[in-house]
Amino acid sequence: MPENPHVAQKEQEVAAVAVTKPKNSKISCYFFSALILLLALSCLKVSTAAVLDPDRADVLYHNYEGGGMKIDGPAILLRKKATESVALSAYYYVDMISSASVDVMSTASPYSEKRNEAQLGIEYLRDKTLMSINVRQSDESDYLSKSVSVNIAQDTFGDLTNLSLGLTFGDDQISRNGDENFAENSKHYQLRAGLNQILSANLSANLSIEAIADQGYLNNPYRTVRYIDASLPSGVGYQAEVYPNTRNSFASKLSMTYFLPYRAAVYFNYRYFTDSWDINADDVELGYRHPLAKMLTLEFKLRYYQQSQANFYNDLFPYQDAQNFLARDKELSDFNDITVGVGITYTLPAKYSFADWRSEATLQWDYIDFTYNNFRDPTAEGGIGNEPFYGFSANVVRMFFSLYF
């Protein structure tokens, strides 16, 4: 082992770079394979006409409660055709956050904050090609995120196939409340492709792939890791997280929807995710939509998600500065969650609708249960490193009104 600490650090950093390269190659391989599959399927050519989606307005109230957090607020989505080939959209969303989560309670105090998000979009339809540009801004007291997305979609093969490509560039400014000298930046690049394919008169499928590359400050500036420190009365010390300043990820998702003979639909989604931090994740979802009479539609869904932990994550490090990169964010740990969701949509009778426009009221409720396999609850009894694993459940409610005009 080199005696000079600088030489030792250099070796560690070079090793860190060397470790990321094979992972990127693996991600490239997944992306390449998925693209070949996508483009091979798209070789079947013939075109169809396309139309813009109808004009609509949606007003939503959302509420999330679980794990010591309560987040709620309104959202509005407006969409209007300016001409037969141009449509404009606007979206506004608010998160009112009140947090006393396990992270916060172990090392800090409960806090409240507000996040505003706004998006503006324009779509242009030319023959069978739909092009769109979307700009987005999200701001909190300590986080400003801006992004621009460009998408293009093409109907082909007698309207049985729709191909799409998209690119997003995002720029985030990160600050830390109470520390005016703290100013960090991160950039995000997203590239995605999709294939929507009608397989039969009752079955359609969608394949989506997306590569995301992040660069810059990717930490949470408030979060700390814990390590064993016998010199302290508590036996445990805390230090700031240190993340790599790049992250490359790749996701692919297959969706299928089938029309049942008695007018109901069953759908299936599977997504696979991998990244250069060694996180591998899968989620699978099964859903069912069932109309009742002409006015009601019921929806049920079941979703399971699991992920492995980042290669620099640890619940309890053996000592301070134990490795180059340090994380104890439970979102980077090994965990799984399961969601059970129900929804009901009520189409209002014409006499109650505004100006003969069709309108709907929808209520959706999701119950999500999280189980962590390597994140211990530091607020529980048991001694350092022997506390029970953490877990919590959350209730998510959405109520919204949709007007088609």
Binding site: L44, E140, Y143, S147, T168, N220, T257, R263, Y267, S402
Partner: protein, 99 residues
């Protein structure tokens, strides 16, 4: 070479890797599109097997994954803030915008 210089070198290497990563994706995509057109895979002579008049079930709103776009955007945000997996959701991307 001191630690700061090494860190800059490391950062520069990672930055170049990321740019190469994105560039490779676009070049691969362009190459496949060009090749698929040049080789004329449309000559497979496969015709659309579901006629327009056979698509009433597919056009039914209960078959639409995006009947409630505002709800889908919220669901994507809820999962994006609590799970590491991201991308390929079908909602256009944009990230969590939070920490």
């Amino acid at each position: 070479m001191n630690i700061n210089m090494l860190k800059q070198l490391n950062s520069s290497l990672e930055s170049n890797e990321m740019i190469t990563f994105i560039a490779k994706k676009w070049l691969t995509l362009l190459l496949i599109i060009v090749l698929s057109n040049l080789t004329g895979c449309a000559q497979l002579n496969i015709k659309p097997w579901v006629k327009p008049y056979e698509r009433q079930h597919l056009a039914d709103e209960i078959m639409s994954a995006n009947r409630h776009p505002i709800a889908n955007m919220h669901i994507t945000h809820v999962y994006g803030a609590r799970e590491s997996a991201r991308g390929a959701e079908g909602t256009g991307g944009g990230g969590c915008g939070c920490n």
